[in-house]
């Protein structure tokens, strides 16, 4: 059976069940389930320390799980690790290119390791460097590359072997907005070519714009899954902000917003905020406050930050998660 048949035969390109991984006292993965359809993009969304990199490393056969199982392309990541490695391309969280080699040498190295003949490996390197706008820097040692260039080379390196599945661990973290937009474009191109992508990110908008499905993890546990639209509907992708002109009115604002948004609003220094799912709410809030005689100094509906999303989903802020970790 060829790997394509196997991929088509199983409903999922990646299947993960009850995955557990501990590092000493830290439980990085506390029973994660997820599934990725062939040809789709799964966004693994979570704050720093949620367990994203650990999950990717298990799926890339770099570490073995303590419990649970994971299949990639129908192959078990522990018992059939060598087969899994023939299907995947990995772009780690930190660009893992060899600083002392040129861009071309980095890619030729991987091609040769994959058993591609020298001439073909060079041709493939050229093709990828062209596609990733690195041709001009191809002959330079990569230690002279900018952050964005290194990321692109890293991504190119994971594509040398024509992987069926691509793991991208926080591919845009640390890039400026332009670099991020460029990388998004590249990823979209790959998806159009039919590659299955597992993408981890801390940014809701990144998952939103690239992923077909999103799995939100925190403390090594899946806390929400769904399409971006479903998730947004569930968690309220917008945040309503109201600041009454007179601080005395804060309580009235809290009551009104709380009733309409069906949540307990946050109050901080006279500013009332609440996640809202429905943008239609804004005019209603305005009318109700007007009826109550509240003069509003500031009123805004903005896209929720990831932090607010986490607050909604978990009941605690994201940065707290990162600091406290989880102890078994």
């Amino acid at each position: 059976m060829s790997q394509l048949d196997r991929l088509a035969g199983s409903a999922h390109a990646i299947e993960v069940e009850g995955l557990v991984k501990r590092f000493g006292d830290t439980t990085a993965l506390a029973g994660v389930d997820l599934a990725v359809r062939p040809g789709s993009v799964l966004g693994l969304l979570g704050p720093n320390g949620a367990g994203k990199t650990t999950a990717v490393r298990v799926l890339a056969t770099l570490i073995t799980p303590d419990a649970g199982r994971a299949k990639v392309g129908g192959y078990d990541v522990v018992r059939e690790a060598h087969q899994v490695r023939q299907l995947i391309g990995l772009t780690g969280q930190y660009a893992s290119v060899d600083d002392t080699l040129t861009g071309t040498e980095n890619l030729v190295l991987i091609g040769r390791l994959l058993g591609i003949p020298r001439a073909a490996a060079k041709a493939r390197a050229r093709e990828l460097l062209d596609a990733f706008a690195l041709s001009e820097a191809a002959g330079r040692a990569t230690k002279t590359y900018s952050g964005g260039m290194r990321r692109r080379l890293d991504l190119a390196a994971s594509l040398v072997g024509h992987p069926q599945l691509l793991y991208l661990d926080e591919p845009t973290t640390g890039l400026d907005p332009r670099g991020r937009a460029e990388l998004w474009e590249l990823i979209r191109g790959l998806v159009a070519d039919g590659v299955t992508v597992l993408l981890t990110t801390q940014y809701l908008n990144e998952a939103d714009s690239l992923a077909d499905d999103i799995v939100v993890i925190d403390h090594g546990k899946v806390i929400a899954t769904g399409t971006p639209a479903e998730l947004k509907a569930k968690i309220g992708a917008r945040t309503l902000e109201v600041r009454p002109a007179d601080e005395v009115d804060v309580r009235t604002v809290v009551a009104v917003v709380g009733e309409l948004a069906n949540v307990t609003p946050e109050v901080e220094g006279g500013l009332v905020t609440a996640p809202v799912a429905d943008p239609e709410l804004l005019p209603i809030v305005v009318r109700r406050l007007d009826d109550a005689g509240v003069v509003v100094a500031e009123l805004a509906l903005r896209t929720s930050s990831l932090e607010e999303v986490f607050l909604t989903l978990t009941g605690h802020p994201a940065d707290e998660v990162a600091e406290e970790g989880i102890t078994a």
Binding site: S2, Q3, L4, R57, A60, T61, L62, E80, H82, Q83, R85, Q86, L87, I88, L90, G92, Y94, A95, S96, V97, D98, D99, T100, L101, T102, E105, L109, I110, R112, L113, L114, G115, E127, L128, D130, A131, A141, A157, S158, L159, G161, H162, P163, Q164, L166, E185, L186, R188, G189, L190, A192, D193, G194, V195
Partner: protein, 271 residues
């Protein structure tokens, strides 16, 4: 971006394991990579070329006259030992290179590829042997120019080189262990200097054991660096061969037996 063919390319058949022959080829590729690195890192070439030459010049002209009466005579005594000393320092590149790969994430990439698990390490060690051979020929060449004369024959000289390379192979495991334990490549370098300098200087590399204080002599005689230097002298210049060669082989075996499993165990824990 549909110009980047990904899944469209003909899929290679999935194989259940890496054949030893493929593993060997991957080892050669990784050794090639380590040697290409030197091209972009000229100071490294300087380290294992210029530094030993400096040592030869320094010891020959500064101490040579005083210690042995003439520079040529001194060089004939010291060069085999200097080659041994230099070999120990060059083995540290295995550790620094390995540590760089581990800390920079290159190792993760290599391990995510369908290659033999042992290929990355074997590639480093093979590349190290090439560097070692280069250093030995360079030192012999410079030595000859300065008056070093081989007192034996070609076969004995080649045996000396083989013995030194064999010892290097065994000592590489110490370097691997340090490379795996160290937090960063600089720490590996620091270890190299602080541990190897005393070991190489408390030996008979530069000065004959008999000239040293009595209490130091047993230490110097037991030092494997002295034993290997004696073996190299015997094979290159002439003198007793059988005992120091046997003892060198025992030491090499002992070092490998102790450090290889230790290094592999720490290695598996780290990755």
């Amino acid at each position: 971006m549909t110009t980047i063919s990904t899944t469209i390319a003909p899929p290679r058949p999935i194989t259940p394991r890496v054949s030893p022959l493929e593993g060997l080829r991957q080892t050669m590729t990784l050794a090639w990579r380590t040697l290409v690195q030197v091209r972009h890192n000229p100071w490294e070439l300087g380290d294992f070329s210029i530094q030993p030459i400096m040592f030869v010049l320094l010891f020959t002209y500064v101490f040579g006259g005083a210690i042995a009466g003439s520079t040529g005579a001194y060089l004939t005594f010291a060069l085999p030992g200097i080659i041994v000393m230099n070999m120990l320092f060059v083995t540290m590149y295995v550790g620094t290179g390995l540590n760089t790969d581990l800390t920079k994430g290159v190792f993760d990439r290599l391990r995510s590829l369908p290659i033999a698990r042992w290929a990355p390490l074997a590639g480093r060690i093979s590349a190290d042997l090439v560097k070692q051979a280069w250093s030995i020929f360079l030192l012999l060449g410079v030595g000859m120019i300065l008056g070093f004369r081989i007192g034996t024959n070609m076969a004995a000289l080649l045996a000396a080189i083989a013995l030194i390379l064999l010892f290097a192979l065994s000592f590489s495991w110490v370097s691997v262990l340090v490379g795996v334990i160290a937090k960063d490549p600089e720490k590996v370098q620091i270890f190299g200097f602080t541990a190897l300098f005393p070991v190489t200087f408390v030996s008979n590399v530069f000065v004959q054991t008999e000239t040293m204080p009595g209490w130091l002599q047993p230490i110097v005689k037991a030092n494997p660096v002295s034993i290997l230097a004696d073996a190299a002298r015997g094979l290159m210049v002439g003198g007793p061969v059988a005992t120091p060669v046997m003892q060198t082989l025992l030491w090499a075996a002992l070092i490998a037996v102790v450090f290889a499993p230790l290094a592999v165990a720490r290695f598996k824990r780290r990755v």
